[in-house]
C-alpha cells in the first residue's frame, strides 16, 4: 500500500482543535484521560499509602507477582478454550465460566468423597468433553449458522440452566477442594511471603495442558482439520473435511479445557454455582485483548491480567480488583480503535 505521494492530509498538532475535529478518536482519548484523572484523584490518598507499603515491605511484591502469575495461567487456559470456539465456530460462548465451575464441582465431588481432587483433572477432561459434545448436538449445532444474537442467547441460556442445575445438586454454599499440599513461608530481607505448593502445581499442570493442546493442534489430523476450518470453513468442506464433526470436537475440547481449569480453580480458590460469570468475563477480556489464533498472546494476556488484578487489588483496593478487568478491556478496545483509525487514514 506504499503511496509514492506524501500523505495527503496535512499533519495537525496532537490535541489541537483541528485534530479533535477531524476524528472522534481525539474526544475518546480526552474522555479517557479525564476519566483516569478523576479515578486517580478519588483514590490517590489511599493508593499512595499502599504504594509506600509496597516499597517498604517489598517482599509483598513477590507475593502479588507469584499469586498473579499462578492464577493468570488458569485464566489463560479457559481463555484459550474460548479463543478456539470463537475463532473456529464464531460462537461467543457465554457459558464458558459455567464449564469452569462444573469442572470445579467435579473436583469438589471427589474431595467430598475422600478422593484426592487431583484425580478430578482427567475425570473432568473426559466428562466435560462428553458434556460439551452433548451440548453441541442439542443446542450449538442449531445456532451456529444463525446470527450473533442467537448464539449469544443460546449460550446465555445454557449458562443459566447450568447455574441453577449446579445449585440444585450442590447447593449455593461456597465450596473448595483442598489438596492438602502445604504452604511454605519464604523469608527474604526481614520480610516474608508465602508460597502455596498447590498454586505452583496448578501452574505447572496448566503449562502441561497448554503444551498438550498446542501439540495436538499442530500434529494431529483433527488439529489440522480444526485449523483448516478456522481459516475457511467452506474451503475445508470442499476439501472433504467434515466441518460438523470439527465443530463438535472444537466445542467439546473447549469444555474439556474449561473443566480442567475448573479443577485447578477449585483447588486454589473457592467455587459456587454462580461464580461462573467472572470467569466468562475474564476469558472474554483476554481473548479480546489477544485475538484468537494467537496462543502466546492469550498466555501473555492471561498472566498479565492475573498480575494486574493482584496489583490493583493491593494498590487501589479490592473493589477495583475486578474493575481492572473491564477497565483493561476498555483501554485495549480504545487503543485498537485509535490504531485502526490511524491505519485507515494512512491508507486513504
Amino acid at each position: 500500500m506504499a503511496s509514492p505521494k506524501p500523505a495527503a492530509p496535512a499533519r495537525t498538532g496532537f490535541l489541537s482543535p483541528a485534530w479533535l475535529k477531524s476524528s472522534g478518536e481525539g474526544w475518546t482519548l480526552l474522555a479517557m484521560i479525564a476519566l483516569v484523572c478523576v479515578v486517580l484523584v478519588l483514590i490517590s490518598g489511599q493508593a499512595q499509602t499502599n504504594l509506600t507499603i509496597l516499597q517498604v515491605a517489598w517482599q509483598q511484591n513477590i507475593q502479588l507477582l507469584l499469586d498473579g502469575l499462578f492464577i493468570g495461567a488458569i485464566f489463560a487456559l479457559a481463555a484459550y478454550g474460548l479463543a478456539l470456539v470463537w475463532g473456529v465456530m464464531n460462537v461467543k460462548n457465554l457459558c464458558q465460566g459455567e464449564y469452569v465451575i462444573m469442572g470445579g464441582y467435579i473436583a469438589y465431588y471427589l474431595y467430598a468423597n475422600d478422593i484426592h481432587p487431583f484425580f478430578g483433572l482427567p475425570i473432568a477432561i473426559v466428562f466435560m468433553f462428553g458434556f460439551g459434545w452433548a451440548v453441541y448436538v442439542l443446542v450449538i449445532r442449531r445456532v451456529i449458522d444463525r446470527d450473533l444474537f442467537t448464539s449469544l442467547l443460546a449460550t446465555f441460556g445454557i449458562a443459566i440452566v447450568l447455574q441453577q442445575g449446579l445449585n440444585l445438586i450442590f447447593g449455593p454454599e461456597v465450596q473448595t477442594a483442598r489438596s492438602g499440599l502445604p504452604t511454605a513461608t519464604v523469608t527474604v530481607g526481614g520480610g516474608a511471603f508465602t508460597f502455596a505448593w498447590i498454586k505452583l502445581t496448578a501452574f505447572l499442570m496448566c503449562g502441561a495442558l497448554a503444551l498438550a493442546v498446542v501439540i495436538f493442534m499442530k500434529r494431529s489430523r483433527m488439529g489440522q482439520a480444526i485449523r483448516a476450518t478456522a481459516q475457511d470453513a467452506r474451503a475445508a468442506r470442499v476439501m472433504g473435511i467434515d466441518t460438523d464433526r470439527v465443530y463438535a470436537f472444537t466445542y467439546s475440547l473447549n469444555a474439556a479445557i474449561c473443566g480442567a481449569a475448573g479443577v485447578l480453580i477449585a483447588m486454589i480458590w473457592v467455587i459456587q454455582p454462580f461464580y461462573g460469570i467472572t470467569h466468562s468475563i475474564r476469558s472474554f477480556v483476554i481473548v479480546t485483548a489477544a485475538g484468537f489464533g494467537n496462543l502466546p498472546g492469550v498466555i501473555m494476556a492471561g498472566l498479565g491480567l492475573g498480575v494486574a488484578e493482584q496489583y490493583s487489588g493491593f494498590v487501589l483496593g479490592a473493589d477495583f480488583q475486578q474493575a481492572t478487568v473491564v477497565g483493561l478491556l476498555l483501554l485495549v478496545l480504545i487503543w485498537r480503535q485509535i490504531i485502526e483509525n490511524r491505519h485507515r487514514r494512512v491508507v486513504e
Binding site: I53, A57, Q63, L64, N167, P172, G313, F314, D319
Partner: protein, 411 residues
Amino acid sequence: MLKHCSPATAVAAAAIAAVIAAPASAKVEGDTIVLGSALSETGKYSTNGIHAKNGYNIAIDLINKTGGVKVGGKSYKLRVIYYDDESTPARGAQLAERLIRQDGVKYMLGPYSSGLTKAIAPVTEKYRIPMVEAEGASRSLFTKGYKYLFAVLSTSEQYLASAIQLAAEIADKAGKKRKDVKIAMAFENDPFSLDVRAGVIDDIKRLGMTVVIDDRLPRDLSDMTATLTKVRALKPDLLVVSGHSKGAATAARQIKELKIATPMIAMTHCESAKVVSKFGASVDGFLCPTQWAETLSYKGKYFGSAADFDKKFKATFSGYKTVPYQSAQAAAAVLVWKEAFERANSFDKEKVREAIASTEMTTFYGRIKFSKAGNNIAKPMVLRQIQDGNYVVVAPSKWASHKVQHPRKVQ
C-alpha cells in the same frame, strides 16, 4: 398457526381464570388465619430460605397443636401461603403483590435476606399490610419510615460492633493506647455488609482506634489475597471481614494459605460457611457474631429455653447438626403474630399492627420489643469464638460462657 397453539392457549387461559377466580378474602378462612410469605426455595438463597421456612413451620405447628390463636373467644389455626421468589428481588415484589391482591392475604411473614425484604417492604407498605420479618437485618430497612414493617432480629450495624468493643477492652487490659490499636477491614460491597461496616466505623470512631485497611470486596470476588497481603505488611491488631458465607469461606481459606498471623480476627457467617468443618484448626480463635445460639440462657412461654427449641427442631427436621439462627428467628416472628392477634383481639389489620408495635415479650430467641422504626431493640448480638472447633459465647459478658482467647493461636 392459531390452530396449532390452541391447546396451550386453552391451558393458559384456564390457569389465568383460576388465578383470577381465587378468593379475595383469604385473610381468615373459617377457623384459619392465613399468613403469606415469599421465600427463597430455589436460587442462591435457597439454603437459608428453607431454614427460614422450617422455622415458620415449626412455630405454626406448635401454636396449632397447643390451642391455636384465640381471638374473640374463638380459637383459630394459622396457615401460611408460600411462594418461591427464586432469590430475586423483582420476583419477590411481584409475589407480594400477588399474595395481597389475588390471594387476599392481610398478614405477611418476611422473605429471606435484606435484599428481598427491601423489595417487598414497599409493596406491603403501599397496601398497608403489616409484615413481621425475621431475616432482613439491613439497617437501611428501618430508616425509610416504614410503618408496617417489624423485624425480630438485631440490625446489621450491630453485627461486628461487639468485636471492636472487645478489641478496646483487650487493649485497655494490656495497657495499650486505643489509638495504637490498628484495624483492618474487608467488607463486601453489598447493602448488608456495608451496614455492618457502618456500625464498625461508628464504634472505631467512638473508641478512637485507627483504621489501616478499608477494602471493599466485589460481589463475585473469589480471591482476597491482595487484601490479605496488605494485612501481612501492615500487621493490624484486628481484622474484620464481612461478605456473607462466600466471604467467610474465601477469607478463612486464604488466611490459612497466606499464614496471616493477626491476633484477633472477626467475621460474619462463620457458621453458614461451615468454616470449622472445612478448614479445621486453622480457624480456631475466629470471632463470629450471631443473632442467637442454643447455648444462651433465653427462655420463653412457647418453646421453653433456647436449648429446648434446639432439641425440638432437631427432632422435627432431620439433617440438622446445629440449628441455624435463621430458623430460630423465623419461629420467633410467628410468635409475635400470635401474641399480636390475641392482644388486638381483632382481625382488623390496623389494630393488629398496633398490637405488634406494642409487643414486649421474652422468648427462647431473646427479648422482643420494637422501636418506632420497627427493629427489635431488646436483643443484643452475641459474639462467639471458635475454641477447639466449638462455638462458645465470649461477649457480651452477661451471656458469656467462656473467656476470650487472645491472641488466637496461629496454626
